[in-house]
Symmetry: C2
Subunit: 327 residues, 2 copies
């Protein structure tokens, strides 16, 4: 009901809607309407009221309402089960627990605030309250652990598509899955899995997108390397729009056929900052430096070192030499 | 104290040990000794007592006492943390929970009974109360998911060594990790992991060894394909001896240096029933049939098909053509 009232007010944003009209339309008493309006105000919606004219929505905070997202979501399974929590340790941690409890493929865990947001390899991910999209998707693909990297590549492609479409500014992707504007990270993806040797039980793809941060909000240590949609564009974007679009794009890419996968890799390459650049790759086997010449259909990076040897990189830390040195 | 009394009686098995001697040796009252003897009897130890001569241990049930195993365990970390439970769903499930709670490398979960014992790929593993070794070891190796198969190969080698040494009968290993006598499985290994794309968080190696089963105890469906140490040798082996030895051998193999790994693969090959045989390999990519010609240093199986093509098999279902057709 609260969501229906909000939707009606939004559809006629800036105009008055009478309490009577709301009451008739939604089939509840005017007192009930009044109570829901009070609740919406508590959530931070600014609603003007006039005893003669009714209610007018002035502005809404960027809150995430699972029902509101789901109402508009054009997906098959992604987000059909959606768990929203104000505060979590990390959405990946919660999603892994839910996956172990047999929540279905496509289940999404979203939080407003992560107290222990995680990046790759045990690093921290800054995720202050209300500033970004912190979400994790549970997948149950029928693959071996060795095939998991492609999922993470495709998640990056989905986010890159959405950020380009929503902001109008094309982002770059640092192989395998950091999304950057200029030199700074706007989105990180942390893929974790539970697997047997020959079969994945489930994959959890954590996606963190910095939306509302001002650069000065970041700790000094990451002020050079992190950015947000607001910092890049000067504009304010609603998180629910980003969530909806990422889930739709990610599902489309994830469910693509084998043939389509080749085309998706081609599309991914167009966002790639890594391809064609000089790179340093640090892995368990040491460091190599060379030119990133190809991304394979399995999502691996191929690097040619000075002596002409070709290396196929399955995973590792890659720095790209750009205008500003290696980043 | 109970364990000390039991140890003293065992050291002089078949002979009387006076209550006074026990009392002096262990520094507790004769009443306390008497209470512990009563507790040992409740656990199924058969202890004769004579008011003049003292106590004599006649026989012990095959019970698993973590303290007793740990007292004799010659390992660095394997089994230093040992969780024994009479009944669990599956030791792998409990071990994964403990791993997520940051239990250290080497933690072992042992059960007397699994209500939902698991085999590979979601299959069931028969694990009736008191009949076998049902245990899982938590490992935290610094490897990528692609390197995990070698752990499972090495676990099979450790178990094969122990079964040969304890029973005097050499078992065969079906690649990658089924241990068989004649055509029937005596041990199965289920390796599960939690990982990021480029780093394993933890591995849980579940080891199930059939010890006390009579063939007629098995459900009809698996009577042809399962066996036990008792069925093979006609003898009774204590589970704690097997547990102690497997943990020691597994730790030694797991901690081996890169150079030693090549030798271990050579040793593994000597147990292999797969190598040199005609095999059918069923994997996601379909079925191939050919000769198993090599096991690589990474533990992969190399199969040459009729047309001369060499296939490197990372994982999959392998049936071996033996005297009795494919098993």
């Amino acid at each position: 009901m609260k969501v229906s009232i909000l939707k009606t007010l939004k559809d006629q944003k800036g105009q008055y809607v009478s309490g009577e009209a709301l009451s008739n339309r939604l089939g509840v008493s005017r007192t009930a309407i009044w109570k829901h309006i009070a609740a919406l105000r508590e959530e931070g919606h600014s609603i003007e009221s006039s005893s003669r004219k009714g209610y007018k929505l002035l502005s809404s905070p960027d809150i995430i309402l699972a029902e509101e997202i789901q109402a508009e979501l054009a997906t098959g399974v992604f987000g059909r089960e959606m768990i929203y929590m104000d505060t979590v340790s990390s959405t990946n941690t919660v999603a892994k627990e839910k996956a172990a409890e047999n929540y279905p493929e496509g289940t999404v865990v979203i939080a407003n605030h992560q107290t222990a947001g995680k990046g790759r390899l045990g690093r921290k991910w800054e995720s202050a309250r209300g500033t970004g999209v912190w979400m994790s998707v549970i997948l149950r693909p029928d693959i071996t652990p060795a095939q998991a990297p492609l999922i993470t590549i495709f998640a990056a492609l989905a986010v890159a598509r959405v950020l380009e479409q929503v902001t109008g500014v094309k982002p770059g992707v640092k192989w395998p899955n950091d999304i950057v504007y200029h030199k700074a990270k706007v989105c990180g993806i942390l893929t974790e899995m539970s697997a047997e040797i020959e079969q994945v039980n489930y994959v959890v793809v954590g996606i963190g997108i910095n939306v509302h941060h001002n650069i000065e909000d970041y700790p000094a240590a990451i002020r050079e390397t992190a950015t947000s949609l607001k910092a890049v564009t000067g504009q304010r974007f609603e998180r629910k729009t980003i969530i909806k679009n990422v889930l739709e794009q990610f599902e489309e890419v994830y469910r693509s056929t084998q043939d389509a996968k080749k085309e998706l890799i081609e599309e991914y390459k167009k966002y790639s900052l890594t391809l064609g650049s000089m790179v340093k790759v640090t892995s368990r086997d040491g460091m190599i430096e060379g030119e990133a010449v190809e991304i394979t259909d399995e999502g691996e990076l191929m690097v040619r070192t000075k002596d002409g040897t070709m290396h196929t990189i399955f995973s590792g830390e890659v720095s790209v030499r750009g205008l500003y040195g290696y980043v």
